[in-house]
Symmetry: C2
Subunit: 155 residues, 2 copies
């Protein structure tokens, strides 16, 4: 007999959460290595730049909501990005606790350089899929995300 544990209906390599985890880590760390090397940005710093580049004037709070990042992680990333001159804050006149964030000129330059780099990684991935498959994948991920969300645990 090969396996010790008789009815072990768990084959890790077929287990969806495991596969997602390995795939996601491979992909993310590949991209992260790229902009780490090119601009010294880590994953969270880039994520913050990405959302602010997409939508100027967000507050830290809004970034945590949009990116599923922890608020401490956002705070740290913002601090680092400001220190490097990529991001600037403007205090909200209505609520002095939060600031609206924007890319500086230098930040926009970096942003414009990273975007194609990131998209390139995505393209390499998606080249493995036909356009139909890509569309299907999108739908499936959407469904899975909904099912995984702590808000909709079970219906």
């Amino acid at each position: 007999m090969e396996n010790e544990t008789e009815n072990a209906p768990l084959q890790l390599s077929k287990f969806l959460p495991y596969r997602l985890s390995v795939l996601s880590n491979t992909v993310s760390s590949g991209i992260a290595a790229d902009y780490q090397r090119a601009f010294g940005l880590n994953l969270w710093q880039w994520r913050v730049m990405a959302v602010v580049g997409e939508c100027e004037g967000l507050t830290a709070r809004e970034i945590t909501q949009r990116t599923a990042m922890d608020k401490v992680a956002v705070s740290r990333a913002v601090t680092a990005l400001e220190a490097r001159g990529f991001l600037c804050r403007q205090v909200d006149p209505e609520d002095a606790r939060s600031s609206h964030l924007g890319l500086t000129q230098a930040g926009q330059d970096v942003y414009q350089q990273i975007v194609p780099l990131a998209l390139n990684h995505e393209t390499i991935l998606l080249r493995a899929l036909s356009p139909q498959e890509e569309a299907i994948l999108e739908r499936l991920l959407e469904k899975l995300a909904r099912a995984a969300s702590p808000d909709h645990p079970l219906w």
Copy 2:
């Protein structure tokens, strides 16, 4: 105009690596919280138990290969699991550097309890998909994993 950056063809929420990352983290941390609470195991400890439960007698090296874990992470997990009496080592008679790992009785008990727990999480996810969709997802993940692999960077 809504967006500051003119031709920013990057919408983070549509960006595949980002979506994978958020989904994977949500799923994994949900499961991890479960067996953390129930047995005080962290993700890597459980991963090691999972592979050893599936295939008794693996060495640490083989575990790193199978699980995409770092060898240090494996070493730490094994140490912790041995300390808790879930795992035992048997030195390879041919090569004194490595040991073959096996679940103790206590380890097997825990394993048998965690497996359904883990599978349940997977089931909740997969309930969102039809059987066909599930099969398709498997194929797509397989393709993506191949495309993301550092071995096959581009063809």
